[in-house]
Amino acid sequence: MIRYFYYHVFYVGMINIMMFVPTLLIRDRFHGAVSGMLVAIAISSVMSLVTMACFERFPGLGYPEISDLYLPRWLTKVNILSAALFVWLPSGIIVLYSYAETARMFFYPDMPPLVNLILLAGAAAWASCQSTRTVQFIQEIAMVLITPLIILFLLKAITNENMNWDAIRYVAGYVRIAPSFITIAASTFLFSGYMSLVLFNRMHEEGFKFKFRWVVPLFSSLFLAVTFFVPIGFHGTVGVQEYVYLWSMTADSMALDYGFINRVLYVFLLMFTGISLLYVMNTWHTTIHFIRYTLNGYKSVEETPASRINIWFSVGIGAAAFVYMYFISTEENQRVSEVWIITRFFVEILTVFMMLYFVWRQKKSKSKNKPRAEAQSAAIGKAAE
């Protein structure tokens, strides 16, 4: 069931818009964004392919279980608990907030902001407290529903006659400027879909192989180019920096002359309802399961009905999102997302090195000590069950 993994790659590739990645890239468009993106493509392609190869060696195990095999228990616990609380949880909250604000701004400006958030947080919390397998199914259904919208939107954007290719070419010429760190960190976010393996690798059966693994760097690079260049094509090299809701305004610059609705903006917002909820559901689900693992070592992927502890955690996370929105303004949210993007970049690199270390340990123990390795693979098999 490798296709579930690629869904993660796709929606994370698109959710960057709600994570203010385009804003960060556009801000540095004359100060090293283009070269930063190229560096990020190289770094992330290597990182994603290496991570995938590493997880292939541990079928059916999530990151917490693998870590437990080779590291002391307390270290694993500290690691995954801080990853859950400082990386996975805030990412969902930031996206939820920025989508809630965008949707409120353009769909129903008269509505009080918190009502909108309650609806979205409720939906995301409800979805995220289900079992891992259910979450995967939700994800497939949502992807099937929004894919036509995504294709329509991307075609509309790229083939638009109002897009100015001169502006794009002019900005692309600034590739000669040395890359800036923030654009590298921000661009690598688009590739982060593979990081969902830390939990969702539990779904993979013994002997699985990633087919079409080149899809990850290819599609993420494509999304990166679209997310950066299309707004420049529509708003020009100078005007593009003036927009707060950059991509919403870009979507609003396209018209569906013979569609049911004239404004592509609504197609865009509808599409992002789905993508944002998917992203929030998956990040919060990962948070819940990481916390549960540190509490009682729980690692099953199926559970019906959803256990009470899941529900309480998801309600708690929803409440946290609520508190966050109450105290933080849109501008501050943008700054928080910047900090988060940089933190995530380092955590990702750390994770990749840890995985390499685990693979090395696995190889060493296999070659050194045959009987022990067998016992270990038996343990892995048991854990997979």
Partner: protein, 362 residues
């Protein structure tokens, strides 16, 4: 018991949160067109005119009813706020698809109106924008004879659903915003006037980054649309053997290249395919190459004249400057250099005209 308590809690919560400012459709006034004029008055320089659609039970030619409200104020935002007290329903800009700017405003400065438009979240960026002659108020008060739905005549004129005229250069709001800030590309507006029963859109106003610099006449507008936007369905006319010969252009493609000399030369190449629409002289096959040559000469001559006129006005609606920067991956120095030499830039126009057919007769 728990379930009942929970549902009461949820119901209570929903009931308390529903008191938001949402207004029903029949409590809203849809603004279908908006105009801004410059009065020149010190106290209240901006005159804002709104055309509000009145919901009608009958739909038919000339039956579209609308209410026109106007008010002068120190700023556009204040005028709109004040206009709210002139009507009984909430104003809604969500359906407004056309913004008109008065002739006097465009001669003064476009900075403030554009700023207001770009800040409002309910303004569609795919709205059309145009310059109203003589004033936006006069255009909005006019009643076209064939209008079925209030404001619809504007949308049909500028959009592609209705008439497609080579004289009408459609300009979207997002493109206006882009051109007003872009390096090496300047804004333009189509002009609109009312001739008694319908709207006439046939001229183009070219602006620098703040105000009007040049008004193109009819022939120049059609040529601009052809040479800048590759707009086909247009025509070239020449005098051939003492009679008028008109070519209908069915396809046109263009190619721009700019040399990197100290004073750059802009080379424009056109490939025009068309059919003869009118010619009193019988066109035998042997004459066609000659006619093609004459058409090419006419096209080259008029386009070059237009390009030089636009250059001398100090504006660049074609975006040659941006193209120059894009082509040579320029930086700030190249941009400064371009700005310095633009008044002396040379133009070379070459075109190829292919007559596909002479219509149903020779």
């Amino acid at each position: 018991m728990k379930k009942i308590a929970a549902s009461i809690l949820i119901l209570g919560f929903l009931a308390s949160s529903s008191g938001c400012g949402f207004k029903d459709l029949d409590k809203r006034f849809f603004v279908v067109a908006m105009g801004v004029d410059w009065t020149g008055d010190k106290e209240k320089p901006y005159e804002v005119t709104l055309r509000l659609a009145i919901p009608a039970s009958k739909i038919g030619e000339g039956l579209a009813e609308s209410q026109v409200e106007h008010l002068a104020a120190p700023s556009i935002a204040e005028a709109v706020r004040n206009l709210k007290s002139h009507v009984d329903k909430e104003l809604d800009f969500g359906q407004c698809r056309i913004f008109l700017f008065g002739k006097t405003l465009i001669k003064h400065s476009m900075e403030e109106p554009l700023n207001w438009l770009s800040r409002r979240r309910d303004i569609q960026l795919i709205s059309y924008a145009a310059v109203a002659q003589p004033t936006a108020m006069a255009i909005l008060k006019a009643n076209p004879a064939t209008e079925r739905i209030a404001g619809n005549a504007f949308f049909l004129t500028f959009g592609k659903e209705g008439t497609v005229s080579p004289y009408t250069v459609t300009e979207y709001l997002f493109d206006i915003f882009r051109r007003f800030s872009e390096k090496g590309m300047d804004p333009y507006f189509p002009t609109i006037r009312f001739d008694g029963d319908s709207y006439v859109v046939e001229n183009l106003v070219l602006l620098n980054k703040t105000k009007e610099q040049l008004l193109l006449n009819r022939a120049e507008t059609i040529l601009y649309n052809l040479s800048a936007n590759s707009f086909s369905r247009s025509g070239i006319a020449i005098n051939y053997e003492g009679k008028r010969l008109v070519l209908y252009i069915s396809r046109v493609s263009r190619d721009v290249s700019i040399t990197r000399d100290r004073v750059p030369t802009v080379k424009l190449r056109f490939k025009i395919t068309g059919i003869v629409e009118q010619s009193a002289v019988v066109l035998l096959n042997s004459k066609i190459p000659e006619v093609q040559g004459l058409l090419e000469q006419e096209m080259n001559r008029t386009t070059k004249k237009l390009l030089i006129k636009i250059r001398n006005a100090g504006v660049d609606p074609y975006g040659f400057g941006l193209h120059y920067l894009a082509k040579y991956f320029g930086n700030e120095q190249d941009w400064k250099h371009w700005q310095e030499v633009y008044p002396q830039v040379k133009f070379e126009v070459s075109s190829r005209v292919i007559i596909e057919s002479t219509g149903l007769v020779r």
